[in-house]
């Protein structure tokens, strides 16, 4: 390398250094705004003005009105001043203007300005994404039910065919298993991501998938996928390995269920998970056997699988019902809630359906199976018809169970806490009890009690609460709390109704030079 080239390289590195953002040293801060935070105006001004302490570049600005509608704002930036204009000037009630700017140092900073037009909203602001209607829950439920049925018919069906079926029972091709399976699992994940993101049933690019793959839904979907793949393997066609792989697939699918639903989080967890595993494994096997049995009655002169099935089915059936009872007890500690909660009502419907199914199954086994095996054509026809009825019942049961996603037992309590929300936050140096109570104006009053790490008294100099909602693109709203007459710290006019998605950062100034941050979600 020549000297000159070296010098040029060195100069280039120095020049690059000059362009490097001024390294974590400076970020812009909002100095003032018109209107000011918390101000009440008669009508929406032509422009909202934000004044920063240094020149900024606006990344985005959105306004959220009392209906939870999110509108992007037109913006003009000159130096340290940003002017924002609404496209709809007829906004009334509480408005949140959320902005994100980039400072001179390249560091993004966000904040939210809350003010009122006319009187504060009678109804508090809804978190964005709420009230998006029933289309997303219905889509989630349909895809979930279809996925479970597909798994039952493929995995449970394979288990029946391999172990009890006729010698040359046809096997599904890899494509007929994997293509619909992958489509169902992918769309299930996408819908889950949409739900977590808080948006309705829309196409939102790859973002929902990125969100969903971070959660349990992804583990669940991967296990389902592996289970289907095990069935689709060419190896699964041979007799002995086929039998083993069918069992493996059933276990994979059943363990997937232990990662989903409210039950998996119930205590004691090992019991709940073991019960889910047994319940879903037996359910998949039994529901999956039904179509094969029906086909058997139509075509095959060899009814040996029917007699084997009839001999062994009481055991899995009993396991399924016992595990179901365990789950119901774990989930529903108080029988009182049986009819008062959505969860309890779904359980009641499911139990009724299962009782119907038991009666049909008993009728099949004790009245129809023996004559069918003996060659009675009338009994055989009746058996086939009752199997069709059993399939209907199985679909209804799986569909009903799918509704639980929207009615966890926790939701009984959620309805109560929506009045007063209480959250405990703590770190090594301090802890706090946050209470968000409802106010007549519809906003919430925040009360904070602060203690030392051992419940000892702590008398902070200052307390600042920052609330943000990343899922709804609401940048931090800053509240400076004041000392409450009855002790603790408080602030009024907090525009949070639904705690979902909101994150709190409580900054406690212990003494002049020490601040402690307590962080947590409002819905944790």
């Amino acid at each position: 390398m020549t000297r000159r080239l070296q010098a040029a390289l060195v100069a280039a590195i120095i020049a690059m250094g000059m362009l490097v953002p001024t390294g974590a040293l400076a970020h812009a801060a909002l100095k003032s705004s018109t209107p000011a935070a918390g101000e009440t105006l008669d009508r929406l001004p032509d422009e909202i003005e934000l004044h920063f302490n240094e020149p900024v570049r606006l990344i985005r600005a959105t306004a959220i009105d009392r209906n939870g509608t999110n509108q992007a704002l037109d913006a003009d930036t000159s130096g340290a001043d940003v002017r924002l204009r609404f496209s709809d000037p007829n906004i009334r009630g509480t408005v949140m203007v959320s902005y994100r700017v980039e400072s001179e140092d390249g560091h993004p900073v966000g904040g939210t300005l809350v003010f009122d037009i006319g009187t504060p909203s009678a109804k508090p602001l809804v978190a964005v994404g709420e009230g998006s209607g029933l289309s997303l829950p219905i889509a989630i439920w349909l895809v979930h039910t279809a996925t479970v049925l597909f798994l039952a018919f493929v995995v449970g069906g394979a288990l029946f065919d391999r172990w009890l079926g006729a010698r040359n029972s046809p096997t599904a091709s890899a494509a007929t298993v994997m293509l619909p399976g992958a489509a169902l699992l992918a769309s299930g994940l996408y819908l889950q991501g949409l739900d977590e993101q808080g948006s309705g049933l829309v196409f939102a690019g790859a973002a929902p998938l990125e969100i969903a793959v971070q959660g349990n839904a992804a583990i669940c979907a991967s296990l389902f996928f592996l289970s289907l793949l095990t069935i689709a393997l060419p190896l699964a066609r041979s007799k002995t390995t086929g039998r083993v792989l069918a069992v493996v697939a059933l276990m994979l699918a059943a363990s997937a269920f232990t990662f989903s639903g409210h039950c998996s989080a119930a205590d004691p967890r090992w019991l709940a998970r073991a019960a889910i595993f047994l319940h879903s494994a037996t359910l998949l096997f039994w529901a999956g056997s039904l179509p094969s049995l029906w086909k058997l009655g139509r075509t095959s002169p060899n009814l040996r699988p029917l007699s084997s099935f009839s001999r062994m089915i009481p055991i899995p059936f009993l396991v399924m019902i016992l595990a179901g009872i365990v789950l119901a007890i774990v989930e529903l500690p108080a029988l009182i809630q049986l009819l008062s909660s959505l969860y309890g009502r779904i359980l009641t419907v499911k139990v009724v359906l299962v009782v119907c199914l038991c009666m049909v199954a008993v009728y099949n086994r004790f009245w129809l199976t023996a004559p069918t095996l003996a060659g009675n054509p009338v009994a055989r026809e009746r058996l086939r018809r009752s199997i069709v009825f059993e399939i209907f019942l199985a679909v209804a049961i799986i569909g009903t169970a799918g509704l639980w996603r929207f009615a966890g037992p926790g939701q009984v309590e959620a309805a109560e806490v929506s009045q007063v929300l209480s959250i405990h936050l703590h770190s090594e140096k301090a802890m706090a009890q946050l209470e968000l109570g409802a106010e007549a104006s519809g906003t919430r009053k925040v009360h904070v009690a602060i203690m030392g790490p051992d419940f000892d008294a702590l008398d902070p100099r200052q307390v600042v609460l920052r609330l943000r909602n990343p899922g709804s693109a609401i940048e931090p709203i800053k509240f400076e709390l004041t000392k409450a007459p009855e002790g603790g710290w408080e602030v009024e006019g907090c525009p949070v109704r639904d705690p979902k998605g909101w994150l709190a950062d409580l900054e406690v100034l212990v003494d002049d030079f020490h601040a402690v941050h307590l962080e947590g979600g409002l819905s944790d």
Binding site: Q6, L9, G17, T22, A24, K31, S427, D512, F513, H517
Partner: protein, 175 residues
């Protein structure tokens, strides 16, 4: 070649720290066991109001801190016991200046100034330690900015609105 590239890179990184709006330290690193000249750069007031007082907390491990006098400002020093005893040139030290206060002057929001003190980084502070120097900036009309945020584990000063200025203790250069 490698060496000159490294020097250029180091120079570039130092230059990157030059333009700043917050209260920052001019020198971003210093060897352990040596004197450190802390130049606090004050780029603006508190929300538009003029600065009238600068209070600096001398962190644990910075020994025998001495402020540089500044015309127009009076200096106050607060003494306190250290958490631990340190060895300073063979003698144990257990207490010293824990806070320096410059007051009585005025620094307008659109003006810039520097406040300087010198202290010895205790030998006991291992290289790789990041030392935060919390500063409270008091302004006219009772306004206050506290540059005291020390990042929690997994966070960086960037995650805070008012991070404390800091410098890194590094290995003694071998000569």
């Amino acid at each position: 070649m490698l060496k000159s590239m490294a020097i250029a890179f180091a120079a570039a990184v130092c230059a990157a720290g030059a333009a700043s709006a917050h209260i920052t330290l001019e020198q971003s690193q210093t060897p352990s066991g040596k004197a450190y000249k802390a130049v606090l750069r004050v780029g603006h007031g508190c929300e538009g109001k003029a600065t009238i007082k600068i209070r600096v907390k001398i962190p644990e491990g910075l020994l025998s801190a001495k402020p540089m006098p500044k015309s127009g400002w009076s200096i106050e020093k607060v003494n306190a016991a250290y958490e631990k005893s340190y060895d300073l040139y063979g003698k144990p030290v257990r207490e010293g200046v824990s806070e320096i206060i410059w007051s009585g002057g005025t620094l307008a929001d659109d003006e810039y100034d520097e406040f300087v003190f010198r202290a010895t980084v205790a030998k006991e502070i291992p290289p790789g330690t990041r030392i935060y120097v919390p500063v409270v900036q008091e302004c006219a009309e009772g306004a206050v900015e506290r540059w005291i945020e020390v990042p929690a584990a997994g966070k960086s000063p960037d995650d805070y609105e008012t991070p404390a200025p800091y410098f890194d203790v590094v290995e003694q250069p071998r000569s």
